[in-house]
């Protein structure tokens, strides 16, 4: 029965030092909505919690020249209250806001959702579609990676010992662009995604698609970018033929499992359905922007 220690460093450097020294039994603690559940269920028994919420930069949303920076400890509720961010990336914010209840929203963070490395994490397909990247601090300094490189398998990230996420970067959205996230759950709230789809669309002046990114969650070991979707959408308008091809591409990209939340057959079919529905929403948003 190892004792648990709690530290609340105020600088990134101090946090890195603590995490590096803490080894495998150290955990980054921000919102705690996954971590404390795992501890409650005795799935993990860490010996050190490094609370990063006292590090100023993890608590801020800042709009910079080419991107918006979301601190790793910014909560879902805070994201939803940031009108500028909501206007820029409504799909990403909606995805984060789907995580858990209002109570969970007051604590849960977008970075935590990413680092939990669940294939069903709601914010991740939305971030992949948005082309987001992750700022990582570690013993060797800081670096950035695309969001899709964070999770390597269910529950496992590419973070090295002593590394942690300090912020998420969302690129400034071009004009004539929009994004959306939809998920399927059996209830209306409080469920884990059975299928999640994030879409980001940029339109040409003539109303055809200039660029598109579509990402699927909960249908493979990690959330994935559906590369074929871009080829189907770019240069085209959204008609039935395109939507049919898009649905097929999304379903084809699935390699899901049967589990307590859904079947292979169901997930594969519904991925196609939601891909079309989410694309329509993103498209409408792009037309308005």
């Amino acid at each position: 029965m190892a004792d648990l220690k709690y530290e609340s460093p105020t600088t990134t450097e101090a946090a890195v030092a603590l995490l590096a020294a803490g080894g495998e039994m150290a955990r980054v603690f921000a919102g705690g909505t996954d971590l404390l559940v795992q501890m409650h269920e005795e799935m993990i028994e860490p010996t050190l919690l490094v609370d990063i919420k006292s590090i100023k930069e993890t608590r801020e949303i800042t709009f910079e020249a080419d991107y918006v920076r979301i601190g790793a400890a910014v909560t879902g509720a805070e994201l939803g209250e940031n009108d500028k961010l909501v206007a820029m990336w409504p799909g990403v914010v909606e995805a984060v806001e789907l995580i858990g209840s209002y109570q969970v929203q007051g604590r849960a963070t977008i970075a935590g959702n990413l680092c939990n490395a669940s294939p069903a994490a709601d914010s991740v397909p939305a971030m992949i579609a948005a082309g987001a990247s992750v700022c990582i601090a570690g013993p060797t300094g800081t670096h950035e990676i695309p969001v899709e490189q964070m999770a390597v398998s269910p529950g496992k990230t590419s973070l090295a010992q002593g590394e942690f996420v300090t912020s998420i970067l969302l690129p400034n959205r071009p004009s004539n662009a929009g994004d959306a996230y939809l998920r399927f759950i059996p209830r209306t709230e409080m469920d884990i995604a059975v299928v999640g789809v994030g879409v980001s669309i940029e339109l040409n002046a003539d109303g055809t698609c200039a660029s598109a990114r579509l990402s699927l969650g909960a249908v493979s070991a990690t959330a994935q970018l559906v590369k074929a979707a871009s080829g189907i959408l770019v240069g085209n308008k959204l008609d039935d033929t395109v939507l049919e091809a898009l649905a097929s591409a999304a379903s084809d990209a699935c390699s899901p499992i049967d589990d307590k939340r859904g079947t292979i057959e169901f997930r594969t079919k519904v991925a196609g359905v939601l891909a079309c529905r989410a694309t329509k929403i993103a498209w409408q948003r792009a037309e308005k922007n």
Partner: protein
């Protein structure tokens, strides 16, 4: 006894009054199972089996016992053993042999989550750490989860000492089938011969949990003289006392059980789980012991209701007359016998005058937690099959679903399959009110469907004890032995105020402990307002008699010349101008003129009356995902007499939403090792507020002729018809019969695709 069930001019009955326990519950003062602590109290945690079926070869507790702060480690060796009960068996069996093994596994574990050892330590953290050091060696055995597979010749046998009970003898070889309940009448061949259309269908349903929000929790404290004090969250502390007494060989009088406020039960808190373990640990350590289950433990090891497999056949004439019905059902009892088979047989066709029928329901052991009661145990899965096939028959012969039910509805004088003859019942009224309800006539949009289903339930009566005390200042305490689970203190108060003719605020209802009250059976079976309420009425009438005697004494007149009117003793002597005496005045006189005034009643209430509940449900189905959205829901129920309409509606609404959950998403999900996969509220998907619409209620009042106020049971009938009504609505929306609960999106989507394929 005077019978007021035809009375309509009530002062308090039927009024909406604030509940007496309300303020404590909105301010956080109310104390539940987990809210008790005692000085020096130890914390108990339980080690549970990771295997669905295994022999326990050895348990080594030495390392756990050596941890600082661990005061005791318990295994089944510390729990007295009991022999298997022998025939004749009661309809509901409390076999101490089984219960002791369910509380703590003896030689074998029978399900994932079965208790194998327990630790009492100075903190919960230490207790949890100690569990990890208990070494159990298992020999894992093949398991079986499905009740039909479990009765096949090659199935793994759970209990080598269980033989099928065949009435006059038992089977030659051990079997997972404990017994079968059968009900029949008429001539099936003749009945099916008269039918113009015969349908056969298979139905299935999965175990669902009561889903009470308050986990099981208790604190036991024993003393050196052998006395036990137990605080626990339960639907019946007298039953807990009886079970602990039998299990642990302690005299009843030495066990005093106090029922905490109860955070939901729905049948799931009718029996013991942690209580005997906490008592034994307290006896061993000499200290109070608290045991609180985690949510995961609640799901893994407390009893859900049965899952079912059913084959049903029904025949109908073209005019809608049902001529015959035959049904065979396999219920999963879980690890030990005791599925509610008798109730299923009784409820299958009790709404209808089917002349030729046979119902057979099997009680089958499988490697799941031992089932417990859940709101009308045994009935909703039966109604799902019966109401599903009746709907399909109506569709096929082109008859309105209410008309087919009206055509075959039971009325006064008809006989149930159980043999009882119905008195005044409200089925026709329920059906007619449904037919005229705006909901039934409202148009439906695309992808929407409407379903209805009827539920029957014969509520419970039985033993109830009540003490009512009139205090010096004219206020009154009403003590019952029934935990208040859905507002029973409110209805007890209403009935006492009605009889006494005084302001309801002068009456304080309480739930007394087992040391202060005669035996009171469970708050279950929709019996409490009926039976315990009856005892309240009796008790208050005894007080009124005493007050009339007191007034006669004071006035020096014959007691026959005194009557009780509107809270006053009144002289009825003609030409007499004696000023009436109020309850308050009499109360002040009482102790000076003979002694304190109280009324008691210990009854075994008979005269229960059948209750019928119809539900009307609209849903919309997403044709691309199979997602079902409940849009509109109306419950039409004969309640006999609504004592507290707010809480009658509350029961109807709560039951309806539990039924929606059962119909759409709730189920136990196991992996291939028979380990439960959804052990929390995240994946055991009970309805949340945004999943459901407002639940409209129509209270039908056809008084139960056998009860002084005409009360029928209210809590359970709603759940009986809810899953069937939702399923029938989905069927109506997609155009394909749905026979397997839950109607989860994958199943509904598959059905829709099958229709599309068939159409192409």
């Amino acid at each position: 006894m005077s019978n007021d069930n035809a009375k309509t001019n009530f002062q308090w009955v039927g009024k909406r009054t604030r509940r007496p326990d309300g303020v404590d519950k909105v301010t956080g003062r109310a104390r539940y199972g987990d809210d008790m602590s005692m000085p020096g109290m130890l914390h108990c945690k339980v080690l549970r089996s990771p295997h669905a079926h295994a022999k326990i070869l050895s348990i080594d507790t030495s390392k756990a016992a050596a941890i600082k702060g661990v005061k005791a480690v318990l295994t089944s060796a510390e729990i007295p053993d009991h022999p298997l009960s022998k025939p004749p068996y009661a309809p509901i069996i409390n076999d101490m042999h089984d219960i002791s093994r369910n509380v703590m596994a003896r030689d074998k574990v029978f399900y994932d989550g079965h208790a194998v050892a327990a630790v009492a330590a100075t903190s919960e953290r230490i207790a949890k750490a100690a569990l990890k050091l208990i070494e159990v060696k298992y020999e894992v055995l093949p398991h079986v989860l499905d009740p039909i597979e479990a009765v096949q010749p090659d199935a793994p046998i759970l209990h080598e000492d269980q033989f099928t009970f065949l009435g006059d003898k038992t089977s030659e070889i051990p079997s997972n089938l404990f017994r079968s309940s059968v009900g029949e009448r008429g001539d099936l061949d003749q009945g099916f011969g008269e039918a113009d259309l015969i349908l056969e269908r298979d139905f299935s349903s999965e175990p669902v949990h009561q889903g009470y929000i308050e986990p099981l929790a208790c604190v036991a404290s024993t003393s050196e003289d052998g006395c036990v004090e137990l605080w626990t969250t339960t639907q019946g502390h007298f039953v807990i006392r009886a079970l602990c007494s039998s299990l642990l060989n302690i005299e009843l009088a030495k066990i005093r059980v106090t029922a905490s406020e109860i955070g939901g039960g729905f049948g799931g808190k009718n029996t013991v789980y942690g209580e005997p373990v906490a008592i034994r640990l307290s006896q061993i350590t000499g200290r109070p012991v608290r045991m609180v289950m985690s949510r995961k433990e609640v799901f893994r090891s407390s009893g859900p209701t049965v899952g079912s497999r059913t084959h049903i056949k029904m025949g109908v004439k073209n005019d809608g007359t049902i001529t015959a019905a035959e049904v065979e059902t396999w219920y999963q009892a879980g690890a030990f016998k005791g599925a509610p088979t008798g109730r299923a047989v009784e409820t299958y066709f009790s709404s209808y005058t089917i002349p030729n029928l046979k119902a057979t329901v099997h009680d089958v052991c499988v490697n799941r937690p031992k089932v417990a009661a859940y709101r009308a145990p045994g009935a909703p899965m039966a109604a799902f099959a019966a109401e599903g096939i009746i709907n399909e028959l109506a569709n096929r012969i082109g008859m309105d679903p209410i008309d087919i039910r009206l055509k075959n509805a039971v009325t006064e004088g008809d006989q149930s399959l159980g043999g009882s003859v119905y008195g005044s019942i409200g089925l026709i009224e329920v059906l007619n009110q449904t037919k005229n309800h705006p909901h039934y006539l409202a148009p439906l949009g695309p992808n929407q469907g409407r379903g209805l289903a009827l539920g029957y339930w014969m509520h419970g009566g039985g033993l109830s004890s009540v003490s009512v005390h009139l205090l010096d200042d004219g206020s009154v305490t009403v003590a019952t032995g029934n935990p208040d689970i859905g507002g029973s203190r409110s209805s007890m108060r209403v009935m006492a105020a009605e009889e006494l003719g005084i302001d309801i605020e002068l009456i304080k209802p309480i739930v007394a402990d087992t040391g202060s009250m005669g035996y009171s059976h469970l708050t279950a079976g929709s019996r409490t307002t009926f039976a315990t309420g009856w005892a309240v009425i009796n008790s208050v009438r005894e007080i009124i008699e005493k007050l009339c005697i007191l007034a006669a004494k004071k006035w020096e007149i014959d007691v026959n010349d005194v009557s009780w009117e509107a809270g006053h003793a009144v002289s009825t002597k003609s030409g007499d101008s004696i000023k009436p005496l109020s309850l308050k005045e009499l109360a002040a006189m009482a102790t000076k003129m003979g002694g304190a005034i109280a009324g008691h009643s210990e009854i075994n209430a008979g005269g229960t009356g059948a209750a019928f509940c119809l539900q009307l449900v609209d849903v919309e189905v997403d044709p691309e995902t199979g997602h079902v959205t409940p849009l509109r829901h109306t419950v039409i129920q004969d309640v006999g007499r609504a004592i507290s309409p707010d809480y009658v509606e509350g029961q109807m609404q709560g039951g309806a939403v539990q039924g929606i959950g059962w119909a759409l998403n709730e189920e136990y999900v196991y992996d291939d090792q028979a380990r439960l996969q959804n052990t929390g509220f995240l994946d055991y998907r009970m309805p949340v507020a945004s999943d459901v619409p407002m639940i409209d209620t129509v209270i039908v009042e056809v008084p139960n002729p056998n009860h002084p106020y005409g009360v029928r049971g209210v809590g359970e009938p709603t759940l009986v018809s809810a899953p069937a009504a939702v399923a029938n609505a989905v069927e109506n929306a997609i155009g394909k019969p749905m026979s397997s609960l839950p109607l989860s999106p994958p199943k509904v989507l598959k059905a829709i695709e099958q229709i599309q394929v068939a159409a192409e």
